[in-house]
């Protein structure tokens, strides 16, 4: 009896995608009192969320709309870690290092713009770098320390947020693929799925790298494309070997680059379980899953350049994921004026874990008709015309 009542009550919101972004949207919407159903054609965190890393960074975002979203997200993640435990939230701080005086100048310029926006960034002199990271190479030009950077285990975060959303009335339906949309005179009225129709007043497109396909089903253009990245996983190392999120200043320009060919810059962090994750690479090769030895070699060499001690560490495995990127490198968040009832929460590229919490907050505020905690205009889908 009870089961029929909860299952058969029509959802007010259907969220497409059980990655970390869909999970955060579902969590904030359920906590706002909305009846939410989450559908995913695979398992929870079976998309890019289960194939990336879990850094929550303000450090890599120059002053601009994405930095504002990231600042909000840092606060939202802190709240989520209090409200929902069990996803290895670690406010470990980030250390960006420069290999040359020119790179250090770039870091300083970025940091001064970020400081004007309220970000804490402390310059670290070359002779102080080892106080932060004892194993760091000793010929670096300096660095910038960002205490607000943090880390989570993304798959665990998605799973825990969804579990908590269920405790607040949400339904989560894995292995259900969205194949079309339902329409009413006013706009969208739900989705058509492999398991039947799911009527709902609002549809949230949290399909990550496949968000463009969902938008197309609804008849609107949202250009989300895959940007491949590899990660190397080392054997477990003692917790002190790599303490913060550490990456090279070049990473920021790699992220912003429009070059389709392989870019690689060192991005290194330890995990709660012991293995150290080594990134990063960026390539536009569609959904090609082939292991790229040149990419892996570059990642390993760059990591050893920053942390010579890693030359003696074994690599256990490598994996790849496909970051969901838009041509202007901004995520797509909020109601779609071209299609009433459709909301987007996709296209977060290499920052979807970090930005997930704020995205969930912004989408839930839009769903309930409240103003969000940041200006959502730069992320609206109408920018694609």
């Amino acid at each position: 009896m009870v089961r029929l009542m909860t299952v058969d009550r029509l959802p007010e919101v259907v969220v497409i995608g059980a990655g970390v972004v869909g999970a955060a949207c579902a969590w904030y919407a359920a906590r706002a009192g909305l009846r939410v159903t989450v559908v995913d054609r695979g398992p929870v965190a079976g998309g890019t969320t289960g194939a990336g890393e879990g850094n929550i960074l303000v450090s890599d975002k120059p002053a601009g709309p994405e930095l504002e979203l990231a600042r909000l997200s840092v606060r939202c993640w802190r709240d989520l870690a209090d409200a929902v435990e069990g996803f290895e939230y670690d406010p470990k701080g980030g250390l960006v290092v420069a290999g040359s005086a020119a790179a250090l100048d770039g870091l300083r310029a970025t940091a001064s713009g970020q400081r004007e926006r309220g970000v804490t960034a402390t310059e670290v002199r070359p002779d102080e770098l080892h106080e932060h990271e004892p194993h760091l190479a000793d010929d670096l030009a300096g660095g910038m320390y960002y205490p607000e950077d943090a880390q989570v285990q993304p798959a665990a975060a998605a799973a825990r947020l969804l579990r908590d959303a269920r405790a607040h009335g949400a339904a989560v339906r894995p292995n259900v693929e969205v194949t079309g949309v339902l329409r009413s005179r006013d706009g969208l009225a739900g989705v058509r799925t492999s398991a039947g129709d799911v009527p709902a007043g609002a549809v949230v497109n949290a399909a990550g790298t496949w968000g463009g396909e969902i938008a197309a089903l609804a008849g609107v253009d949202v250009p989300v494309l895959p940007r491949r990245g590899f990660v190397l996983v080392t054997e477990p190392l003692p917790p002190g070997v790599v303490r913060h999120k550490v990456y090279a200043a070049e990473y920021v320009s790699d992220v912003a680059s429009d070059d389709a060919s392989l870019q690689s810059s060192p991005v290194i962090e330890s995990t709660a379980a012991g293995p150290v994750l080594l990134g990063s690479s960026r390539e536009r090769v569609g959904f090609n899953r082939t292991l790229s030895v040149p990419a892996l070699r570059r990642i390993a060499a760059h990591a050893v350049r920053l942390f010579p001690v890693l030359a003696g560490a074994d690599v256990l495995r490598a994996y790849r994921g496909f970051r969901p990127y838009c041509p202007d490198h901004l995520p797509v968040i909020g109601p779609d004026a071209r299609c009433p009832g459709l909301y987007h929460a996709c296209g977060h590229e290499g920052a979807g874990v970090g930005l997930a919490a704020a995205t969930g907050h912004v989408v839930a505020r839009a769903l309930t008709g409240h103003p969000p905690g940041t200006d959502p205009t730069p992320f609206l889908p109408e920018r694609f015309g």
Binding site: P134, H135, E235, P236, L237, P238, G240, V241, G274, V309, A313, D314, L316
Partner: protein, 90 residues
Amino acid sequence: MSDTFDFDGRAVPFEPGQTVGAALIADGVRSWRTTRGRARPRGIFCGIGVCFDCLVTVDGAPNRRACLVPATTDLPVRSQEGTGHDDLDV
């Protein structure tokens, strides 16, 4: 007389082609490392190189999979505690 390798200071016999893990099991040794978190004993689990339960230090290199490494007379084997990388701890 079969060949032997040194395991924590004593001789363990092995047949040609046998892995370190198989030789240890045949000699009655069932665990040769402790886990990182709670120092629980571990030895062979999957036996085919997938689970990383059977880690052991071979010739000074930690985290070798005992179920894959062929035993040889000249590579000493040491039981392992935690990451086996105490040398890196600071």
